[in-house]
C-alpha cells in the first residue's frame, strides 16, 4: 500500500467541510491572515509561489508563479486587473475540480484572495460549467458566508486590501475551458477562442490584464503560503512538486479521485489505490491525463505520473485523469467515442479542426461498421498530422489529433483488423 503525506483532501473528509465554521476550525484563512500579518508584499507572494515550482493543474502544466509574474506592472499600467478561475472541467475523464468546489470551497476562496493580493486584482470570476449545480451552489454559499465574516469585499480581515469574487455559470461547451474561449464566454459571447498573442496578461477579460488558472492550481496556493515553498518541494519531483488529484476511471475495481504525489508510478495508482483492473482481467491500455493525452499500452504502466516522465513516455500528463481500458475493450471504439466528442465540441473557426474532426469521426465510424477501406489507417494518420501541431487558433485540434495518432501507433493492428480484406469485401 502506498502511504504519503496529503493536504488537498484532508479537510474534505470532515463532516460539513464546506461550511465556514468547519473550515475555519480546520485552519481556513490562516494562510491569508499570515500574508497580511507578516507584511508580505504582493511581489513576495508571487516569489514564494514561483519558488514552490507549482505547475498548473488545468492540463498544460505551466508554472503558476511565472504566469502570475506576466501581469503588467501596476505602476505603469493602471487598467482593471482580473483573474478567471477555470472550473469548466469538461475534459473527458476529469472530475477533480468538482470535488474541491463541493467539499472545500473556502480553500478555493482563500487561494483566490491570496492570488488577488499577489497580482493586485480588482475582481475574480469563477467560471463553473453549467451542469455543476451543487458545486456552484456550495461555492456561492461559501462566498456569502465569507462576505458576512469580513473575508470578502472591502477591507478583507481589516488588512486594507479589497477584492470581489463572482460566480459565473457556463452552458455546456467544452471549448469554454480553453482560456480565451472562456473569456469570450464570460463576456456573454460564443466561446470562440482568440488568436494568441495578445496573451491574457495583456489583453484578457474586456481587454484588461487577466490571469486564467485552474481550480486545483489555486487550491494549492494557501498550503504553499502557510507551510512554505520548501515544504511544498518535499512532495512530488524536482520539476513537478506537490500532490495532485488523480481521477481514475474506466475498468478498475475502485474508480475515484485520489490525492497522490507527482511522480508516483501509474501502476501504484491502478493497483494499490484503485484496486487493480476490474473483474480479474488484465490491462490493455491507459490514458494518463484525460482524453486529450495519447493512449499508452499496458507495458508502460510503470511510468511515473509527472509532467516530464509522461512526456518522455510519448504522451502528456494533462489533467492527471487516468482512463483505464481492460483487455476486452476496443481501442478503436474509444477512438470513435473521442472523435465524435471533438467533432461535437470544435467551435468551427479553423478549417483543419472543423473538417478534420468530422473526417476522423466518419472514417473511424465506417471502420467500426465494417465499411473500412484499404488505406483508411493511413488516411487517419495523414489527416491527424494535418491538424497538429500548432496549426490552429487553439489546442482543441491537437487534442483531437494526438490521441488518434497515439492509438494508431500503439494499436495499429486493431485498426487494421477493422478493414475487410479484399476477399471479404468482394463477398
Amino acid at each position: 500500500m502506498t502511504s504519503h503525506e496529503t493536504y488537498l483532501l484532508n479537510r474534505a473528509k470532515l463532516a460539513d467541510s464546506h461550511t465556514l465554521e468547519v473550515a475555519r476550525a480546520d485552519g481556513a484563512y490562516g494562510a491569508l491572515r499570515k500574508v497580511f500579518e507578516t507584511s508580505m508584499s504582493p511581489e513576495d507572494v508571487v516569489e514564494e509561489v514561483k519558488k514552490s515550482g507549482l505547475r498548473g493543474r488545468g492540463g498544460a502544466g505551466f508554472p503558476t508563479g511565472l504566469k502570475w509574474s506576466f501581469m503588467p506592472n501596476h505602476e505603469s499600467d493602471s487598467r482593471t486587473r482580473y483573474m478567471a478561475v477555470n472550473a469548466d472541467e469538461s475534459e473527458p475523464g476529469t472530475c477533480k475540480d468538482r470535488v474541491l468546489l463541493r467539499e472545500d470551497p473556502h480553500c478555493l476562496i482563500e487561494g483566490c484572495l491570496i492570488a488577488a493580493f499577489a497580482m493586485r486584482l480588482d475582481a475574480v470570476y469563477v467560471y463553473v460549467r453549467g451542469e455543476y449545480r451543487l458545486p456552484y451552489d456550495r461555492m456561492q454559499a461559501a462566498l456569502d458566508e465569507a462576505r458576512a465574516a469580513g473575508i470578502l469585499g472591502d477591507n478583507i480581515l481589516g488588512s486594507g486590501f479589497s477584492c470581489e469574487i463572482h460566480m459565473h455559470k457556463g452552458a455546456g461547451a467544452y471549448i469554454c475551458g480553453e482560456e480565451t474561449g472562456l473569456m469570450e464566454s464570460l463576456e456573454g459571447k460564443r466561446g470562440h477562442p482568440r488568436p494568441k498573442p495578445p496573451f491574457p496578461a495583456s489583453f484578457g477579460l474586456w481587454g484588461q490584464p487577466t490571469t486564467v488558472n485552474n481550480v486545483e492550481s489555486i487550491f494549492n496556493v494557501p498550503f504553499i503560503l502557510d507551510r512554505g515553498a520548501d515544504w511544498f518541494r518535499t512532495l512530488g519531483t524536482e520539476s513537478s512538486p506537490g500532490n495532485f488529484l488523480c481521477g481514475i476511471s474506466g475498468h478498475v475495481e475502485r474508480p475515484g479521485v485520489y490525492e497522490v504525489p507527482l511522480g508516483i508510478s501509474a501502476r501504484a495508482i491502478v493497483e494499490d489505490l484503485a484496486g487493480g483492473i476490474w473483474k480479474g482481467r488484465s490491462l490493455k491500455a491507459w490514458f494518463p491525463g484525460g482524453s486529450s493525452t495519447g493512449v499508452l499500452p499496458a507495458d508502460m504502466l510503470d511510468t511515473p505520473m509527472d509532467h516530464d516522465s509522461v512526456k518522455a513516455a510519448g504522451s502528456m500528463f494533462g489533467t492527471g485523469a487516468m482512463i483505464i481500458l481492460d483487455e476486452t475493450a476496443s481501442v478503436v471504439r474509444s477512438a470513435l467515442v473521442l472523435a465524435r466528442f471533438y467533432e461535437h465540441e470544435s467551435c468551427g473557426q479553423c478549417s483543419q479542426c472543423r473538417e478534420g474532426t468530422e473526417w476522423l469521426e466518419q472514417i473511424v465510424d465506417r471502420m467500426l461498421s465494417g465499411q473500412g477501406k484499404a488505406g483508411d489507417v493511413q488516411l487517419l494518420t495523414d489527416l491527424s498530422n494535418g491538424m497538429t501541431p500548432g496549426k490552429t487558433i487553439c489546442a482543441l485540434s491537437d487534442a483531437a489529433a494526438i490521441p488518434m495518432l497515439a492509438a494508431i501507433k500503439h494499436f495499429r493492428s486493431e485498426f487494421e483488423a477493422c478493414i475487410p480484406t479484399t476477399a471479404e469485401a468482394l463477398v
Partner: protein, 156 residues
C-alpha cells in the same frame, strides 16, 4: 413580453457583477429557460435582446452555441445520459437503452405524452462514478441499468 418583472429585477442584480451588461446574458438565459417553459423561445430571444441592448440575432447566435439551451420545446423532464469514454467503458450503452425503453423516446426527442425529453450528452465531469445520467439537473451516478426505471419513475 415574456420576461417578468421579477426576472428583470434579478437580471439588474446579476449584471452588477460585470463591467459590461452583456456578460450577464448566459446566466440570464439559464434563468429564462428555468422559468419560461424549459426552452428559449423566439419571444425570450427578442425580450433578452431588448434587455441586453443587443440584436435578436446576437442573442440567438449565443443561445445556439451552447448545448444546455433548447431552442425548441422539450418534454417536461429532461433526461441526459452521458456517452463519453469513462461512461462508455462502464456500460453507458445499457443505460441509454434502459432510458429509451422507459421513456419511449428516441435520443434527441421527447416522449409522446411530453413527459420526458431524452438526450445523450458528452462528459458531465462525473467520470469516476460512471455510468451516469442527469435528470432535471440532478446527477445520478454509479448507475446500474435497473436503477433507470426507478429514478425516472420518481418524476411521475
Amino acid at each position: 413580453m415574456a420576461l417578468t418583472a421579477a426576472l428583470k429585477a434579478e437580471f439588474d442584480e446579476l449584471c452588477k457583477k460585470y463591467p459590461e451588461r452583456r456578460a450577464g446574458l448566459i446566466p440570464a438565459l439559464h434563468r429564462c429557460q428555468e422559468e419560461l417553459g424549459g426552452w428559449i423561445s423566439p419571444e425570450t430571444i427578442t425580450d433578452c435582446a431588448e434587455y441586453f441592448k443587443l440584436e435578436p440575432v446576437e442573442v440567438y447566435s449565443v443561445a445556439s452555441f451552447y448545448p444546455m439551451f433548447f431552442l425548441s420545446p422539450v418534454g417536461q423532464h429532461v433526461v441526459s445520459v452521458c456517452r463519453n469514454i469513462s461512461c462508455d467503458l462502464r456500460g453507458a450503452g445499457e443505460i441509454i437503452n434502459a432510458a429509451k425503453e422507459h421513456t419511449g423516446a428516441a435520443c434527441g426527442e421527447s416522449s409522446e405524452d411530453g413527459h420526458f425529453y431524452l438526450e445523450q450528452v458528452e462528459c458531465q465531469g462525473a467520470c469516476t462514478n460512471a455510468p451516469m445520467m442527469v435528470v432535471d439537473g440532478k446527477y445520478h451516478e454509479d448507475l446500474e441499468p435497473a436503477d433507470v426505471a426507478r429514478i425516472l419513475g420518481e418524476t411521475r
